[in-house]
């Protein structure tokens, strides 16, 4: 008899496969055809499907919550960006308002100073400021067209700034009070002695030609004497910073009152009255 074991095993395998396929199909058939049976509705609809649906619902809720939180985070980030931009705009406005307020305060002070000195005085703005360069001059925005002339004194609320050095059409240069070639007639308030102030730069000056017996005290106020026919008498110049006795002469160093490196608005006083020529005969009318 021939060996048929392999054929037997192959047919058995095929039979199991067809049994499996038939089982799968039968399960589906029962599922569909016998669906109204209570066994399916009881087991599937009340126990299995509810659990599955609950699980799916929870997954769905988590997904919705995740999307919502992501959307909220996006909204918060967008709002944060908008607030940052608004904050920058407000900070810019605040800076501008601070500058405007400072300008207004300066102009108010200049107006008060103008009222207390001379109504013909002119307010000007410093538009070029080379400090702390040595021999540096200021440039203001008023010139010949606005009626300025050379040697008009320039002051602020803190004291004397200098005088007009040169005049352009709409701009002028100011020789500061700490320039070495300033030459200002001053007097000491307490000792009442006169001298000539010469600039030493860096907001410092030195009083020359003081009498040797003059007793000068540190901190003493110094005013313009008006004897140079440029600055009117009584303008504050500074205070005595240091007194040195060198070889019989007295050197008086002066700390000038106005901060020359922080100028913005200045007041230009009217030009001095020209001195008449005393050699010319007076014509009797």
């Amino acid at each position: 008899m021939a060996y048929i074991g392999g054929m037997k095993s192959k047919s058995l395998r095929s039979r199991w496969i067809f049994l499996l396929i038939g089982g799968i199909w039968t399960l589906h058939f029962i599922w569909v055809a016998l669906s109204p049976l209570s066994i399916r509705t009881e087991v599937f609809d009340t126990r299995i499907s509810r659990a599955v649906l609950r699980w799916m619902n929870e997954r769905h809720q988590r997904e919705v919550a995740r999307i919502e939180s992501r959307r909220m985070l996006g909204d918060v980030l967008l709002e944060n960006q908008q607030l940052k931009e608004a904050n920058q705009i407000l900070q810019g406005q605040q800076r501008q308002w601070t500058l405007d307020r400072e300008t207004l305060d300066n102009l108010s002070q200049m107006l008060e100073l103008q009222k207390s000195t001379s109504p013909e005085a002119t307010v000007a703005e410093v538009i070029y400021h080379p400090r702390p360069r040595f021999f540096g001059t200021f440039v203001i925005n008023k010139g010949e067209r606005e009626g300025l002339r050379i040697d008009q004194p320039v002051i602020t609320t803190q004291g004397v700034i200098g005088r007009i050095w040169s005049v352009g059409i709409h701009q002028s240069k100011i020789l500061p009070v700490d320039a070495p070639n300033i030459g200002m007639a001053v007097y000491l308030s307490r000792s009442n002695s006169s001298g000539i102030l010469q600039g030493r730069s860096q907001n410092l000056g030195e009083i020359l030609y003081l009498r040797s017996e003059t007793s000068v005290q540190i901190g003493e106020s110094i005013f313009t004497s008006g004897l140079d026919n440029i600055y009117p008498r009584g303008l504050l110049v500074g205070r005595v910073k240091e007194v040195r006795n060198e070889g019989g002469s007295t050197r008086v160093l002066v700390q000038l009152s106005p901060r020359l490196d922080q100028l913005r608005y200045v007041l230009i006083l009217p030009p001095p009255t020209p001195i008449e020529s005393l050699n010319d005969p007076v014509v009797q009318q």
Partner: protein, 161 residues
Amino acid sequence: MSTALSFVTLRRVLALLALVTVMSTGAYPLAQWMVHTLLLHGFGLDPRSWILSTLWLTLSGWSVELSLRTTPALGALAFANLTVGLIALFLIKKFPPFTYFAHLAQWASAYVCHLLLYLAGSWRLNHIWAWDPIYVFTLIALPFGAALSWRLTQWERKRKL
């Protein structure tokens, strides 16, 4: 000469790709139904393996129903797939088509039978008439799917797969 054939064939690779596409196109019912039809009547009927054919038919039916979930009680499509697909596979093995038109006729008749059985099963389970125009669109596009599977069948015959 040894004629041992590989388990991985072009038909099985295409069937797997079609199944993945069916699973991932739940948001596009027309495309999903077309790919499902291609898998059901074209790639899924593997003459070399009854069990693999059963696997493709069952999985494709449940994938479509689980992704759509248009009816509360599912299973009608998998049942229709299994019933029509296994009968169609038996007929293909018993009476293999030798022309494209015979192949197309088998496709179209199987498609109509499958659709009717699905609708009947769905009615049995849910008591609703689950009609949709996408069935007509798929029927119109049927020659393209049939041509594709015909080319695959011809290629397999040449390779003696």
